[in-house]
């Protein structure tokens, strides 16, 4: 059974449908890239997968031992976070809260897990530093460590390289790929970067007209890739402001 299955899903806001007839599934160990133009419904899909937003029709099922609250989420950064006084440790540990229930403190074991995830992402030396003083790439690693604290199975990354310089972007992609390869963590990544998607992803979900879901090879052959590349080049001045 797949970890995540979308069956004939319609997504929308305020009663207005945005995406119709969405069908795809994600297996354990998969690397799925979700591509699409701005406003195509990618963020709505992300929110729906996380159970923060209801589907208008159809069904999203989780299986293979995964529940919706076990998806580790790497959100886009918000304005609030840019001047937030918080140490790296505080932020990484907040990923553990899903396990705490009503318990008001973290156990030794949970703290050790947070430390281990910081080590894995190479940010142990930053643990006492203030989040807002870190570089963009370091901040993303901190949020990724937090997401890892919330899951061992699946990561959902919402444009993880937005605003990063080319070096940090490459590092981020390599890091995600190694989590997928070495730890067997399923990756779902929302992206604008079609070249990286073709390089790293195993499957592609294209949201637009027409919808596409299939392996990366099939996507390359379908001609949609080129179409999307042209479109996104055309729109790139807009997407910067997003």
């Amino acid at each position: 059974m797949a970890q995540l299955t979308c069956k004939d899903v319609t997504l929308g806001y305020d009663g207005k449908p945005v995406v119709h007839g969405l069908n795809f599934s994600v297996e354990q160990g998969d690397y799925l890239c979700i591509l699409g133009e701005n406003g195509s419904g990618k963020s709505t899909l992300v929110k729906t997968l996380l159970n923060l937003h209801p589907v208008m029709s159809g069904k999203i099922e989780t299986g293979d031992g995964l529940s919706a609250s076990e998806i580790g989420y790497l959100p886009q950064q918000t304005l609030v976070q840019r001047d937030f006084p918080a140490s790296v440790t505080e932020i990484v540990r907040s990923g553990l809260l899903g396990r705490c229930g009503m318990r008001p403190f973290y156990t030794k074991r949970e703290k050790a897990l947070a430390d281990e995830n910081m080590r894995k992402l190479g940010i142990s030396h930053l643990s006492g530093r203030c989040y807002r003083e870190l570089s963009g790439g370091q901040q993303q690693r901190v949020l990724l460590a937090r997401a890892l604290c919330a899951t061992r199975k699946m990561l959902l990354l919402d444009e993880p390289v937005a605003g990063l310089d080319p070096n940090a972007t490459r590092e981020m992609y390599e890091l995600v790929a190694s989590l997928n390869r070495d730890d067997g963590i399923t990756i779902i990544m929302v992206s604008h970067d079609i070249a990286a998607a073709m390089q790293y992803a195993k499957h592609i979900l294209y949201i637009g007209e027409p919808l596409f879901w299939g392996s990366t090879g099939e996507f390359r052959d379908s001609g949609l890739a080129r179409h999307f590349q042209d479109e996104s080049r055309h729109h790139c001045t807009w997407s910067e402001e997003d």
Binding site: L50, F84, C130, R146
Partner: protein, 279 residues
Amino acid sequence: MIETLAAYFAYPFVRYALIVGVLIALSSSLLGVTLVLKRFSFIGDGLSHVAFGAIAIATILDLGNNMAVVMPITVLAAVWLLRTGQHTKIKGDAAVAMLSVGALAIGYLLLNIFSKSTNISGDVCSTLFGSTAILTLTQLDVWLSIGISIVVILVFLLFYHKIFSVTFDETFSQATGLQASRYNLLIAVITAVVIVLAMNLVGSLLISALIIFPALSAMRLFKSFRAVILCSAVMSVVCAATGIIVSILASTPVGSTIVAMDIAMFGISYFAGQITSRS
């Protein structure tokens, strides 16, 4: 000077003022950090104006106990404000501004039309600036403040990590299965309660200062959430205590004196922050 103070502290109302002042300063500074970071700095201003409007209504209806009217109305306004923060068409700051100005105007209007008092501007002035209220506290007020402060401190101890997570990243905490809306509701309700209480101390116009100054000062100096919260609480208590003592010695208005202390503390923190960040 010590003798003068000792003479003043022989009066119970002076002791009450000090106890209540310190407790309210402590509660509002704890909440302040979260509210400032959530971009709700002006909620103190907004809600205290709502409370002012509610007091006007209570006065006109000639209800003996104002609290019974003021508290529920203010709590409702707080819930509405914090809930509409992210997802609605009127954004947080605009909603606060709208409510603040609207309640103030309607409250004043009602007082003018229906008032039985001969000294409306005096009444309004004391509600806004809390000129004498703190010196007329009853024993009940003191116990009420102690009770509320204990609740606020307990909430912070029990839900500290959750409040941090909801403040830092609401979407993420919801995604990990935390009921973010419940914690927002909790914050909204205790904010409203603290503000209604704080009106007794500094009056409605100066409540914002109690909420934002200690938080902003602490943020100049410290870089982790825990340190900011602790520092903000300590600063707020120190400023409230010295403010009350100075106001007794120099016979200045209590509320404005406390706020002046908070401003001074912010100035010191600002320069201290500049120096430490350079070195």
